[in-house]
Symmetry: none
Subunit: 256 residues, 2 copies
Amino acid sequence: MLENIRVVLVNTSHPGNIGGAARAMKNMGLSRLVLVDPLDFPSHEADARASGASDVLEGAQVVGTLEEALVGCNLVLGTSARDRRIPWPLLDPRECGQKSVEEAGQGGQIALVFGREYAGLTNEELQRCHYHVHIPSNPDFSSLNLAAAVQVLSYEVRMAWLAAEGQPSKVEKQEVNSVRSADLATADEMESYFGHLEQTLVAIGFLNPEQPKHLMARLRRLYGRSSVNRSEMSILRGILTETQKVARGDAHKRKD
Amino acid sequence: MLENIRVVLVNTSHPGNIGGAARAMKNMGLSRLVLVDPLDFPSHEADARASGASDVLEGAQVVGTLEEALVGCNLVLGTSARDRRIPWPLLDPRECGQKSVEEAGQGGQIALVFGREYAGLTNEELQRCHYHVHIPSNPDFSSLNLAAAVQVLSYEVRMAWLAAEGQPSKVEKQEVNSVRSADLATADEMESYFGHLEQTLVAIGFLNPEQPKHLMARLRRLYGRSSVNRSEMSILRGILTETQKVARGDAHKRKD
């Protein structure tokens, strides 16, 4: 479905930006690059910045006009930094990604159009677009590098595509964030840990049973919110057991 | 609030990437750049790629180690491309932007940490992070250009910031549940705790320095996700200090 989404660069001056755009595209799973009247292409600088994305550069279609670049497109989205005289339907990058993926998923051909490094797209070119896309930026320094702008929109396309495919946006194969519930120490294991911890703190003289203050409550709150899993629990218990041995004087001791 | 969010680049090889990162940051309203042991800085190439963001480069702090870069940070987010042996709490860029803005809004200091162009962050560096951030990418071509990665995360920070500015009540109310970010132990305090913990585990014979396995990594992960606040930290440190005294045999011992 991503092959239905092409990136169109109009009148690019710096070949390094073409290479950077190709790399950004390929990183995000896009492959169709169309260059409208580039100043300097092919070029070593483009190849260098493309890194491993030379296949995208080699497959790039070079055309003379924006019209040619847009042949067959059902949806044309043009990046625009500036306020325009004529108000136009405007999307932010996230909406742009969602709209592109939605249309591509229905078989549409989509073009994401990027203008010149210094001057952007002309009003005439912008009027060929169904929507304008504005990347939110610092009003005092709003002009993104071309390859960086391609990176942002391509990233949002990928995020929308992953969501549409039902794939997670991160590699969540392991028990990572939310440790799986079944792996968490149970309430009774936690209780038994707190009992062991309290004994140990008394044994090393840190907790005075006559004046316990709120020490155990504070430690319960800390470990209670930490979602301790079972393998961590066994480490924590192991530490207490060794500490108790040392406190009894019957354990391995360092000589220092 | 965005001034609480710093971008940390570790061991960057190509000065052009430093310039590109500075431009991406300024475009998105970020200004604090910290460079850990850069290969070539300051440099004309960095200035050229920074375009109008030379103020970010001039204000950049250059330090020798990641620890120095993280001094005072309450939340450290490290970009990671690769699968790791030890799973770590993982965020996608959107979650990273939201979390950074949420914590910064509560007065926290945040670091977004980016690794070397070819090798990323080392396991040791990644273990200093509270969360890892993975930019979703084409599995066959997953490594983004450094400045492009900075662009994506900075963009998501700006999107989250704009959303928060539009609805300030959301950010303000969250401190009710969670500990306020400014009360959290900072990265350097956590490091110093982990150092103390490691010494103590060696002293009681629980950790064999010859065969450390992944013990410290597991403990870092546990405490790293627990949002330890300062008063809890002083309890944890107190426990270690008493344990060490007992291990040296010079402390109060129970007679049992």
